[in-house]
């Protein structure tokens, strides 16, 4: 062991013993710091996981959706417009989409009814999301009855439940055939909810969308990028609101830590004076104080990140998962794929650890540079 390392080890040993003498105060500081970091790391990691999940899943969403607007509201679109859209260079296919909402008074829940664009479901049959199955206590082979817009009961046989693992996209879905959809909602022939457009060259999506809205001024185009951006901003917004709520905790901790760091206790000042009187250099005292701050900050940071991970992936983010994910009468259960974002954790580290160490060092430097006799006589 080189003399410099041996010297630092001795200072570190002294620092740890001094910290143990004030264990109550230091433990409180360590606990608060750990909890604050755990909360913010949880918000960052959870939001990042949600954002990534949304991007991965929605990258298969329709490239462009064309919706007709009437007096500012989304209205049914004539399927005949597909021919005009197909005439635009770059458009590959235009497919009508049939989907809508059904409020189920018995379950007090709203379902999303969807007709698969490629068909594949027989008339009189349905496939339902697990959330619908739970709310109606329905299972494969049982009948799903819905009251149509004509006042009649429409009964559909449940041929399958959509896979439980896909709840994030399918919890409230009821997949039905086109004849059943039109009959249930008295949906006029020749109309669709909206049109899904695919483009030959993905680079041209924005340009094709613009051309479509120029050709059909009473429509609006929603691109896949818009859809993904919506979810990015949604989760950013929610994590921002969440962080704002916990900002009060952060500010309280900052005030507490600042007060604790800037106002050295009489005992600590006396200790500094004695150390200088027995021959410690100012630099040794600063190394000691730096070590004290670094130990608390590092242990809190590592402990906070571990706590955040355990909270998110072993306790399903139960502290505020509901807030960040969302909820309704059809509560979707889903697990997120974890994301370790080194950049965000580095930002969290930079915003918490160095400021804390600096807050410890500055008052210690002031006390350490004073004459030891003056410091001890202050008592």
């Amino acid at each position: 062991m080189t003399p410099a390392i041996a010297r630092y080890r001795n200072i570190l040993d002294f620092t740890l013993r001094a910290m143990l003498r004030r264990r109550g105060k230091n433990l409180l500081l360590l606990t608060l710091f750990t909890l604050v970091i755990a909360v913010f790391a949880s918000i960052l990691l959870f939001t990042q996981a949600l954002r990534r999940e949304a991007v991965l899943i929605l990258k298969e969403a329709p490239e462009i959706l064309i919706q007709r607007m009437v007096a500012g509201r989304h209205d049914l679109i004539p399927t005949g417009l597909a021919v005009r859209i197909e005439s635009i260079p770059g458009v590959r296919t235009v497919a009508p989409r049939l989907w809508g909402y059904y409020f189920d008074p018995s379950a007090n829940a709203t379902y999303t009814l969807v007709v698969p664009p490629a068909g594949g479901i027989a008339e009189g049959k349905t496939r339902i999301g697990v959330g619908v199955g739970r709310s109606r206590k329905a299972f494969r082979g049982s009948t799903l009855s819905m009251r149509g817009y004509d006042g009649q009961e429409h009964s559909l046989e449940i041929e399958a439940l959509l896979p439980e693992e896909s709840e994030l996209v399918s919890s409230d879905l009821v997949i039905i055939s086109e004849p059943d959809f039109r009959s249930l909602f008295s949906f006029p022939a020749g109309y669709a909810t909206d049109l899904a457009v695919t483009v030959a060259n993905p680079q041209e999506i924005a340009m094709v969308a613009r051309k479509i809205t120029e050709l059909l001024p009473d429509t609006r185009a929603i691109t896949r990028t818009d859809i993904i951006t919506t979810y990015q901003s949604l989760f950013d917004w929610r994590s921002g609101v969440m962080a704002l709520i916990f900002a009060s905790a952060l500010i309280s901790f900052a005030v507490f830590a600042w007060d604790r760091a800037t106002g050295l206790s009489a005992e600590e000042r006396r200790e500094t004076g004695i150390l200088k009187a027995i021959g410690w250099e100012t630099s040794d005292i600063l190394v000691m104080k730096f070590s004290e701050g670094a130990i608390i900050a590092l242990v809190s940071f590592l402990g906070g990140c571990i706590l955040a991970w355990v909270h998110l992936y072993f306790f399903w983010g139960s502290l505020f998962g509901v807030f960040l994910k969302g909820w309704s009468s059809l509560y979707p259960y889903f697990r997120l794929a974890p994301v370790i974002d080194i950049y965000q954790l580095s930002v969290l580290f930079t915003l918490t650890v160095p400021p804390y160490i600096a807050a410890i060092l500055i008052p210690s430097w002031r006390a350490a540079s004073m004459d030891p006799d003056t410091v001890m006589r202050e008592q």
Binding site: R9, D13, L16, L20, L56, I57, L58, A61, P62, Q67, G72, R73, H74, W99, Y101, T110, Y111, T112, V114, P116, P117, A118, G120, G129, G131, L162, E165, S166, L168, V169, S170, S171, D172, L173, I222, I227, T229, T230, S233, L234, W237, I295, L298, V299, L302, G303, C305, I306, W309, V310, Y313, F323, K325, G326, S328, L330, P332, A337, P338, V339
Partner: protein, 103 residues
């Protein structure tokens, strides 16, 4: 009996915390591999049914399908209607509705 130095105890404790971090990193890799099949299935469902939104909050049109919402969605009952769903206040308007366009 030789007593352990406080600095040795600290290094051991930090190593213990780092071991936890490494183990949780391994856990993340494992969970990511496990979720690949699920995400692939959800993506194929989005493609097959032409879905546009995640099923997060289904109490209103604009919370179930935020990317498809009308510009005045929270006021759908009448122009002065107040937003009354809890999730509505947690969902910002989609960017394509708030994008500035030239007059």
């Amino acid at each position: 009996m030789k007593c352990i130095r406080p600095s040795d105890a600290l290094f051991l404790f930090l190593a213990y915390l780092l071991l936890w971090v490494i183990l949780l990193g391994c856990d993340a890799v494992r969970r990511n591999q496990e979720s690949r099949a699920r995400i692939a299935m959800e993506s194929s469902m989005v493609r097959a049914y032409g879905l546009t939104d995640l099923c997060l909050a289904s109490e209103a049109r604009y919370t179930r399908h935020p990317s498809q919402a009308d510009i005045h969605a929270p006021f759908q009952d009448h122009p002065m209607a107040l937003e009354h769903f809890p999730s509505g206040s947690l969902i910002p308007p989609p960017p394509h509705l708030t994008r500035r366009t030239l007059p």
